[in-house]
């Protein structure tokens, strides 16, 4: 394979992976606090439809419209997550059930579709679209130019957020407290950390990032709205968080790996190597299962970092 082809694969993997990075970071934050949210697909769709609607409604310079649209997409995702937070944290509904209910509510045949219809944005062609920004004119550099310096703002944003989340988790006190809450809410509570507040905040912020990830589809990839246009990206984002074992740096690489593997089969076929693309696509999932199974001892499980309280509601002083 020549370098052009490799660059093309990487660039397309980045395009594929960017919404996964955004939504995955959000899910990572929620799960780090102990809240599993299976409603990512619904939150992304709400972000996508809201972002597109706002971008169609507002007047003004394109960049300002797009920024407001992104903010509103994040707000829409956060509102959805708030429902899940209330049900799973306060009312203590089973997190799996509550998250799935959120997917039905907001998903392809739910509120996102309804909103698209009521707002009448179905057949519209978008007025604004985020395009590639050639940073400092460095996009011309061979190989690394198109990969690192000629991307749309969402991609730069996702990189910034990965750094930010990693810094937050490992270098701030609140990030440290967050990890403690997800790992042992009882100890965290005993140390005066408000478990409920941490879970609410991070679930909600997680929803905002999912909304942003959804908006990538309607504001950057293609400025149109159709029902269910995220096409399962929310589900893949959930798998990605598990694949990354709850680490933001691995999550970034994992998102691009998912993207690269999904197109690798076709690329190889074009070069006469007959390997089904499904084989490559299923590798990350199978690898994750193998690692999860291999990490069967408690010690190994701690090393890979599954938040120990994931999915378990915290009830003070009971049992």
């Amino acid at each position: 394979m020549n370098t052009d082809l490799i660059v093309a694969v990487i660039v397309s993997a980045i395009a594929y992976g960017t919404p996964l990075v955004l939504a995955g970071l959000g899910e990572l934050l929620a799960e780090r606090s102990g809240v599993l949210n299976l409603g990512v697909e619904g939150m992304m769709l709400m972000g996508a439809v809201t972002g597109f609607f706002v971008s169609q409604q507002l007047g003004g310079p394109g960049w300002a419209v797009l920024i407001v649209a992104m903010i509103m997409a994040a707000v829409a995702g956060a509102l959805m997550a708030l429902i899940h937070a209330f049900l799973s944290i306060t009312v203590r509904v089973n997190q799996i059930v509550s998250g799935l209910a959120l997917t039905i509510f907001a998903g392809m045949a739910g509120l996102s579709s309804y909103a698209g219809q009521v707002w009448g944005i179905g057949g519209q062609h978008g007025l604004h679209q985020l395009t590639r920004v050639d940073l400092f004119g460095l996009g011309e550099i061979p190989v690394i130019g198109p990969i690192l310096f000629d991307q749309d703002p969402f991609v730069y944003l996702s990189w910034g957020l990965v750094v930010l989340v990693a810094w937050y988790l490992y270098r701030t006190r609140t990030g440290l407290y967050l990890r403690a809450v997800g790992e042992s809410p009882r100890s965290a509570d005993a140390m005066g950390i408000n478990v409920t507040r941490y879970r609410y905040v991070h679930t909600t912020v997680g929803g905002a990032l999912a909304g942003l990830g959804g908006a990538y589809f309607t504001l950057a990839i293609a400025p149109i709205w159709t029902d269910g246009l995220t096409a399962g990206a929310g589900w893949i984002a959930i798998a990605l968080v598990i694949f990354a074992f709850w680490r933001p740096d691995v999550l970034l690489l994992g998102a691009y790996l998912f993207g690269a593997l999904s197109s690798l089969g076709f690329t190889l076929q074009a070069h006469g190597v007959q390997m089904p693309s499904e084989f490559f696509s299923s590798l990350p999932y199978l690898m994750t299962v193998v690692v999860l199974a291999g990490a069967s001892t408690t010690l190994a499980r701690r090393r890979i970092g599954t938040p120990a309280s994931l999915g378990v509601p915290y009830v003070r002083e009971e049992g």
């Binding site: 270098r171 701030t172 006190r173 609140t174 990030g175 440290l176 407290y177 990890r179 403690a180 790992e183 042992s184 009882r186 100890s187 965290a188 005993a190 140390m191 005066g192 950390i193 408690t298 010690l299 701690r302 970092g305 120990a308």
Partner: protein, 527 residues
Amino acid sequence: MSIHVEAGPASAESATAGLVPAVAAIGVTKRFAGGVVANDRVSFDARRGEVHALLGENGAGKTTLCNILTGLYHPDEGEIQVDGSPVRLHSPHEAQRSGIFMVHQHLSLVDSLTVAENVVLGWSRHRGLRYTPRQVEAEISEIAARYQMQVDPHARIWQLSLGERQRIDILKALYRDARILILDEPTTVLTPAETEQLFSSVHEMVAAGRSVVFISHKLPEVLAIANRITILRKGRSVTTVDAAGVDVRELARLMVGHDMPAGRVRRAAAGSGTPPADQRGVLELERVCADGDFGIQVLHDVSLSVRPGEILGIAGVAGNGQRELAEVIAGLRAHSRGAIRLDGAELHGGDPRAAINRGVAYVPEDRMGTGVSPSLSVTENLMLKSYRRDAPHAGPVLLMDRADAQSVALMEQFDIRSRGPHALVRQLSGGNVQKVVLARELSSQPRVLVAASPTRGLDVGATEYVHGVLVDSARRGVGIMLISEDLDEIVELSDRIAVLYEGRVVGIVDAAQASYEQLGMMMAGAA
């Protein structure tokens, strides 16, 4: 000297110092639902620069008192003072802000975080959002050096031994500049060398003007470390003594009390039902060793024998291997060495079903969590073990109507009061739950019954009922192992008494002749 002297804050011992105590409990009373009085007008005070020991058996009220000092519980009467002024503590966090820090028996560290991360959890010396590992690690190393503790700030908690974890909890207290440290049974998880290290750290702490409240039931170490000792018994503070002025014998007497309360009779002395001494044991343990939950060996070469019709009492302060002993016999825990024999034939470890089938009945200490399935009905709980063979059935189908009829008969026989066989067990009172457990275990015609703390938390009536059932079963030839922290109960019911201390049988005595003083010394590791 009277035993029931109330030690007030201004008792003779503390009058010598004109100083205001760092922390004091004054007439603290705590009652729980069901009328249990866990603390009854308890008073003690710890001065600056003092190691003050709280000594007592389990159930004496030490844990409740600690929970009050750390803000988990509220006293119903009395108050807590810090530096002479009353405080109301609503949470451990508030207690920490008042300078009180408890180093827990069940350590409250987050396993997957590093030492440094755990130390700054919930409180940092530095303002602002940032957490700078290098800075915190340096501070920790500095404190550790000052108090002669060996600590690796980078290590993750799960990599550490229990003793090391305790050190981290102490470090956490020192990092927060706690002025009053409560150490709850700190040496149970330590090796002798670690204990020595801990003691030298404690000396450094008090030398720096801090106060240490040292909770223990081990007499030798209390005498070794404490300046003064407050003895708790049955929820009351009996007295406060200077460590320099007492010996082990005196402390043991104060801790376990004089003799049985009036009106209660030793069954063994009354000569009722003692089996002939030459009879072979129905249950025999030969040099049994077993590990505890953390992989540390907790039973060491335990050899015991229970004869048919005999009640063998197992005395000891909780946490000395009693739970593991019961679980090993019931098949819930595998033993690592030694042999368990039932009717002369070996019982292989770690298989509860085999133990049940061979006739081992077990009344577990954790009644609600293990002994019953709380959301199931009385009938279903009565057939929890018999459903495999004896419960009414047709093929794989259980005939619940007939099972209900059987359970009504059992409920009558064992005086279980509920709304009927369909009532859920979690809706029953503690006494009735225990009767359900006993009814199930005894209706299976067992050869041996292991009863672990069978009357804990029960009211007087239910306690008497349970005692009656145990005595009655022994009379009918069941070999009974009665494990209890209540020495009165052990002495009253047993034929022989074995004392467990740190996982070893330190002695077996005839219950008719055993003196409280002798038992107390054995239980406290002083014999």
